[in-house]
Symmetry: C2
Subunit: 180 residues, 2 copies
């Protein structure tokens, strides 16, 4: 089964992008990785602890003036190796993404068509808003990392979000039409 703990690798990866504290990682997630990955502090801090125990990173307490002390994490060579190994490992069975929108639609013959249409219109608005968010992220990436080797790959993932969301919007329009 090779149960890969993806969260662990997400954090190892973030350690290569300039993030050095759990707090910074959370912020990064909530901005740049926002559209395809998200974890809570309740997950980040214990995982960081575990990563240190495994020798994949080191910690150092650094006092700050005015602000709370920080714990600075740095990737070790073993950590880098582990990350690279995960990157090059083939992707196995991708789990099915649960889709609440489709679940409701699947059973929607039990409600008036108008309600379903309203529902889809609302969903379309959410998608449109999401597209705007992506534009914001694009700017962030360009500001943050003009000369970073990362930027190219970050824009690939963003492009995914943009293209798939656009396709979803198209589908919404199609489906609304079919129902009208």
């Amino acid at each position: 089964m090779a149960k890969t703990n993806h969260t662990k690798y997400a954090i190892l990866g973030l350690l290569t992008t300039g993030c050095r504290t759990g707090y910074q990682m959370k912020q990064m997630m909530d901005t740049s990785l926002n559209h395809f990955w998200k974890i809570s502090y309740g997950q980040i801090y214990p995982t960081l602890k575990q990563i240190v125990e495994e020798g994949l990173a080191t910690v150092q307490d650094i006092p700050q003036d005015g602000k709370p002390d920080i714990k600075e994490y740095l990737l070790t060579e073993a950590g880098e190796k582990e990350l690279r190994q995960w990157l090059s490992s083939p992707l196995e069975n991708i789990p099915v993404a649960k889709n609440e929108v489709l679940l409701k639609l699947f059973f929607s013959r039990h409600q008036p068509k108008e309600t379903t249409i309203e529902y889809l219109v609302h969903y379309q608005e959410i998608l449109q808003a999401r597209l705007h968010t992506y534009e914001g992220i694009e700017e962030l990436i360009q500001i943050h990392s003009i000369e970073k080797a990362d930027a190219q790959y970050w824009l690939f993932t963003l492009d995914y979000g943009k293209q798939i969301t656009a396709a979803e919007i198209m589908w919404c329009k199609d489906t609304i039409n079919k129902l009208s």
Copy 2:
């Protein structure tokens, strides 16, 4: 927060489609709802029990010859009402779907481009296979439910799967090109 237990509603919904046992529901999930919803027996049976306790369905033990006894579940009026209420409730914050493919790509500057390309080619193949699966599901729906009011909505969800997968394949090709 209005924590909606989607699994419960998935099961209530399935009870309106001719599924009368937990076993049948699992089969239905693994075929027709396969691309956007999936649950295990360990989730189905306890939820069915709970649904009966809440008065949303009734059970009946029915002995069979040759095969194991079945427990036949039937939706009550209260159950139908509950389902309809959920259907008409607005969709709130859609949780971020974690995407392992994008997570790896995000950190892929740490590996040779060739490896990333191979990886994307492999992913593309998986997507292509998925498209074929969808065609299979389409046939299933058409056979299963020629005169069912459900069919229209089932085909909508399938259409979603087909269109989004096609868009993903396009993105794969684009990205492979950019990397070459």
